[in-house]
């Protein structure tokens, strides 16, 4: 019980720190909403024949949920954990009786909760502004996709801290990894506009698989429960790889 309450203690402070950081709030909470409004305005209205006639605005809901979850987990952790490391906060934490995993768990828990909040926010905006249906009958698939994806991208974020040398490099490296994948995976541009070869290339990376899993769970054209176990397995394997890299190479002391 003690470690659980300690993890909750850490989670509370991680929440405070997150909401007080204007950069985290903007990039994680506001930017995905802005992207949704911009893309829905530019590309909205049409239907995508290739996807069974789904409206473009409906397409963008799982796309932006994917982006929001990746921002709240991988991007957020890779930047903020690197900054905490370079400030010496991780080193200081190691000098206390707090078990190291609790230190990480508080921050991972924070990232997952913010992911869930963003999923709800984006889904509601989709419903209210664009009449994108809320997938009530496929909620289990939405939740499983969220949990598998958020956890896996948290692991990838922790793994990324291994290659990020300094706080200055943190946002450049994480944007350099995520932005191209958002374009290639059909997050920013509807996938019927993207050549097949590009999509199959993007299929090698977990952003595309994560999005496909969310798309099946959200799309009103989906038949059945909407679980994409194959895609989720790919995401989970990436997450596991990230976990192992972090476990082996994670640094607690500043590099500079």
């Amino acid at each position: 019980m003690k470690p659980i309450s300690l993890a909750l203690h850490e989670f509370r402070f991680a929440q405070k720190v997150f909401w007080r950081n204007p950069a985290s709030v903007f990039f994680t909470a506001l930017l995905p909403v802005l992207f949704l409004l911009i893309f829905a305005t530019i590309f909205g209205g049409d239907q995508i024949e290739e996807l069974g006639g789904v409206k473009v605005t409906t397409y963008y809901i799982p796309a932006i949920v994917t982006l929001a979850v990746i921002s709240a987990t991988m991007v957020n952790l890779s930047m903020n954990v690197t900054i905490a490391r370079e400030q010496g906060l991780l080193k200081r934490g190691r000098g206390t009786p707090l078990p190291p995993w609790v230190f990480i768990a508080g921050r991972v828990g924070n990232a997952i909760v913010i992911s869930a909040v963003m999923l709800v926010v984006v889904t509601l905006i989709g419903k209210l502004l664009y009449d994108a249906p809320i997938p009530w009958e496929r909620i289990p698939a939405v939740l499983v996709t969220l949990v598998v994806g958020a956890t896996s991208f948290c692991c990838l974020g922790l793994a990324m801290t291994v290659i990020i040398p300094s706080r200055e490099a943190a946002s450049a490296i994480s944007n350099a990894i995520t932005l191209p994948l958002y374009f290639l995976s059909g997050i920013f541009i509807p996938e019927n506009e993207i050549p097949e070869g590009v999509l199959s290339f993007a299929n090698h990376f977990p952003v595309r698989d994560f999005f496909e899993a969310f798309f099946s769970a959200y799309s009103p054209k989906t038949v059945g429960a909407g679980f994409e176990w194959g895609e989720l397995a790919v995401v989970a394997i990436w997450g596991l790889a990230g976990f192992l890299i972090a476990l082996r190479y994670f640094r607690w002391t500043p590099r500079q």
């Binding site: 300690l6 405070k16 007080r20 950081n21 400030q87 906060l89 080193k91 200081r92 000098g95 009786p97």
Partner: protein, 305 residues
């Protein structure tokens, strides 16, 4: 195991081809404040970080509160407070929140408000760390190290980069810890700081401890002479005190005084000779001063600075 809070024998540490610590021996006893004084690169931080469990050692025996710091346990960490060389605070949390966060990690933490009082941040309790001055941030750093109510406190250069008044405030705060019965090991490159705070001072140079004693006794008296100085009217014949002391020098200034400076290893006997000579010669001696070697003299000699 000895009753020492910290016991170090033959400690060694090498980085690549740099021998940072070359055989350090040191014991620190409970409730004692010991300062490790030395220039940058002397091996102070390496030594302290080995004691804190952050770094491995290459040789020697180390015991901190009866535990080998190479194998730290949570129970051991519970008894230790650490202030790292650079200030490490979460900028978005207030003074009170920062202390509450760390207090949650320890079995028997001190009251957060009491710690705020100990480090003198009552007025800043609701201020976020990023808004504090450098001196206030450092005091919060010390507060965080104290909040677990540790038996042993490490302070790595607690006042480096401070202006004199912030340094004085920090000293008074650390001196106040004496009343709590804490054992403190601090590193510094300020002689005054070591002199003001420490019961004993270890002077470290090039990976070795070159002197270890109370601030009063530091320095070898047979090698470092006491200075007796006084002034007499210009033109006074000094033949009567020829041969007194090991060294003599004198100079005249334009106020008509001759200032004599005598270096001696027998200050009491030589002072008696000088005053006897003055009374016999019916001389008026002014500005008589007996000065032991300062810690600075000793430090500069020992570290070849």
């Amino acid at each position: 195991m000895s009753s020492a809070a910290i016991s170090i024998k033959g400690l060694r540490k090498t980085y690549d081809d740099l021998e940072a610590v070359r055989g350090v021996d040191l014991e620190v006893f409970p409730e004692e404040i010991v300062a490790v004084l030395g220039p940058n690169g002397a091996g102070k931080t390496t030594t302290v970080e080995i004691l804190e469990g952050y770094r491995d050692r290459d040789g020697g025996e180390v015991s901190v509160l009866g535990v080998d710091p190479a194998k730290p346990t949570p129970a051991w960490r519970d008894r230790i407070g650490i202030v790292l060389q650079s200030t490490t605070l979460e900028p978005a949390l207030t003074v009170r929140e920062s202390l509450q966060q760390y207090a949650g990690y320890y079995r028997n933490p001190r009251e957060v408000d009491e710690v705020i009082g100990l480090v003198g941040l009552e007025e800043q309790a609701g201020t976020r760390a990023r808004k504090l001055s450098g001196g206030q941030q450092r005091r919060l750093d010390v507060g965080i190290a104290l909040v677990g109510d540790p038996d042993l406190l490490f302070l790595d250069e607690p006042t480096t980069g401070f202006d004199p008044s912030a340094r004085r405030q920090a000293w008074e705060m650390v001196a106040g810890l004496r009343g709590l019965g804490k054992t403190v090991l601090l590193t510094t490159h300020y002689m005054e700081e070591a002199q003001f705070l420490a019961d004993r001072v270890a002077i470290m140079s090039e990976g070795r401890i070159v002197a270890l004693d109370t601030p009063e006794n530091l320095g070898d008296r047979r090698r470092m002479p006491t200075t007796i100085s006084f002034s007499v009217p210009a033109g006074t014949d000094l033949a009567g005190i020829a041969g007194v002391g090991q060294t003599q020098s004198s100079s005249e200034d334009d106020t008509g005084l001759r200032t004599v400076s005598i270096g001696t290893h027998e200050p009491v006997a030589d002072l008696n000779r000088i005053t006897g000579w003055a009374i016999e010669s019916d001389l008026e001696i002014q500005h008589l001063e007996v000065r032991r070697p300062s810690l600075e003299d000793v430090y500069l000699e020992l570290t070849d600075a």
